[in-house]
């Protein structure tokens, strides 16, 4: 079983829709969970950062972590065409530890 699994998509949704992106993982030692956004041929840009289980909200973005199910989610409300990008889930065991990435989900928001 791969350490971090993420559906690569592509996922196409109409502008204004709620987007749900998900990852599963196998390593129960992961404590820090991140979502990065990556535009084509650019570096990953940190969107959300969560420690352990729970929800975190930042504007139109909500991150959820369910450690019992080893499942994390990112929700985007009122999606915009500018949200079109690849979204990478990522996690680590400790703050200074290496980050393990999912393969990324390509998201297209249709105007």
């Amino acid at each position: 079983q791969k350490e971090v699994e993420q559906d690569p998509g592509p996922l196409s949704v109409p502008e204004g829709a709620i987007v749900s992106l998900n990852c599963t993982y196998s390593n129960s030692a992961f404590q820090y969970f991140m979502w990065y956004r990556q535009y084509s041929r650019k570096g990953p840009e940190l969107l959300m950062y969560t420690y352990s289980s729970g929800n975190k909200e930042d504007g139109r973005f909500t991150a959820q972590v369910d450690k019992s199910s080893k499942y994390i989610s990112l929700f985007i409300r009122d999606s915009q065409p500018s949200d079109s990008a690849t979204y990478l889930c990522a996690m680590s065991e400790a703050r200074d530890d290496k980050i393990i990435f999912g393969k990324g989900t390509r998201l297209h928001i249709l105007p």
Binding site: D97, K98, I99
Partner: protein
């Protein structure tokens, strides 16, 4: 807002040549990392560096690779004898990691093409 910078943005080299990729981390950061992303693949960890020494390295980071912090601002990745399979985007990341919400911030990457 401070950011991680990397140079060059694109490097083309011949197989067997040495390349040095350069990074300027965010100034008050203490932890430094290199990752790579082969086209169409996931971002993979290469090496972490703290207190002037390697903290951890992946199996990808073999004897052909080395890292250095030659002065107070730069962080470099050297590939001694490049192979075709080294072609990838190389990302530098840095972090202060002093507080509960600190994490690693990534640079824009250097695209390495080995011919």
């Amino acid at each position: 807002e401070p950011e991680v910078t990397q140079t060059p943005s694109h490097q083309v080299t011949q197989m067997g040549q040495e390349v040095i990729l350069r990074c300027v981390p965010i100034s008050n950061h203490l932890y430094f990392y290199w990752y790579r992303q082969i086209l169409g693949q996931k971002v993979e960890f290469l090496v972490s560096f703290y207190n002037n020494e390697i903290s951890e390295k992946s199996e990808i980071f073999d004897d052909q690779f080395s890292v250095e912090r030659p002065d107070g601002s730069n962080f470099t990745l050297k590939i001694r004898s490049t192979k075709l399979e080294d072609s990838a985007m190389y990302f530098c990341a840095s972090g202060r990691l002093a507080g509960p919400t600190d994490t690693q911030y990534f640079g824009p990457g250097t695209r390495l093409t080995v011919l």
